[in-house]
Symmetry: C2
Subunit: 163 residues, 2 copies
DNA sequence: AAAATTCAGTTTATACTTAAACAAATTTTA
DNA sequence: TAAAATTTGTTTAAGTATAAACTGAATTTT
């Protein structure tokens, strides 16, 4: 859920110096639009979802031996969340879970051959969609955006302790 | 769930000309960080959530007569989603639903006195948090970010038909 | 070695979200 | 006016997400 459409009304009601809030709403709007497009594509084309794609990506991009906890850290969600998504992926034969011999608490998750095959297709689509959506902006404009965002993230992380 | 931490690995694996993907990951990272902070504040401080705050904002910012369908459009979610969030807000006495006399299909939703009081507090916190998080960037930097994002959104919307 | 603690992952309860099927009310059309 | 189509909102089924309680396994302390 996003307040994207309330944008103008909310901004009208705040002091003009609140340029920060204006930036946050622009970020919210932009993110939500793109995320929605990716989500709907994965749903329609693969009967899948972004969380499933994210887990497959994490497995495809890392050396074998990725654990449930590793997935939770990489994808910035709780371990309980990972349990559910991985269970459904395993039921569909896209990943496999093996208990470590050295430490029987640890579950090692690997992507299966069919999981890899599906991920390859999803990944190509994902990149193509992002590319298409941003094609209208020049490379310089896109790079400006990237730098602004990376700078903002640094600022945000530094400000967190002040909250 | 976000691929934020996979950022660098994914980028290493793509052609260097994929500046668009780099921008999308920066957007994802930045958005997720800020959203998580807002979410956790509402949960800890008010035992509430962003969707609840969003609905209260929509009601507080608009003239009376907002319908369930209006909320779904304004917050860009399905009507079924609105049904659930509004029901829980009503159970907590924060909003009230009245069936229209003119058209008995229509539910008119209004914010209650206690809902308004809670929203005032949440809203002040929300603005303060965004302001604090972005305080480290200059006004010029923030404005550059806003312009880049607004331009990108336009680009995205124009590209949608091509998908 | 026994007890206490820490650690990895699952389970539980609750909330949020979608798409699709549905019910009821209104409007359009023939 | 009667039938058909549209509109508004709810319900349902499944997936995604959190926090907190829990289980079993390993490690640390005593």
């Amino acid at each position: 859920m996003s307040q994207a459409i309330l944008f103008d009304k909310v901004l009208d009601s705040i002091p003009t110096e609140a340029h920060q809030l204006r930036a946050w709403f622009a970020l919210l709007r932009c993110f939500s639009s793109i995320e929605r497009i990716l989500m709907q594509h994965l749903a329609q084309e693969y009967n899948s979802s972004l969380p499933r794609y994210d887990v497959l990506t994490a497995l495809a991009m890392n050396k074998p031996g990725v654990t449930m906890g590793d997935l939770a850290v990489m994808l910035m969600v709780t371990k309980g969340n990972i349990t559910g998504v991985v269970r459904r992926l395993e039921q569909d034969g896209l990943v496999k879970k093996v208990t470590s011999k050295k430490d029987r608490r640890i579950q090692s998750v690997t992507i299966s051959a069919s999981g890899r095959k599906l991920w390859d297709k999803m990944h190509r689509d994902y990149e193509r969609i992002i590319s298409t959506l941003l094609k209208g902006a020049s490379e310089a404009q896109v790079n400006t955006l990237t730098l602004s965002l990376e700078h903002t993230l640094k600022t945000v992380e530094e400000a967190v302790p002040q909250l």
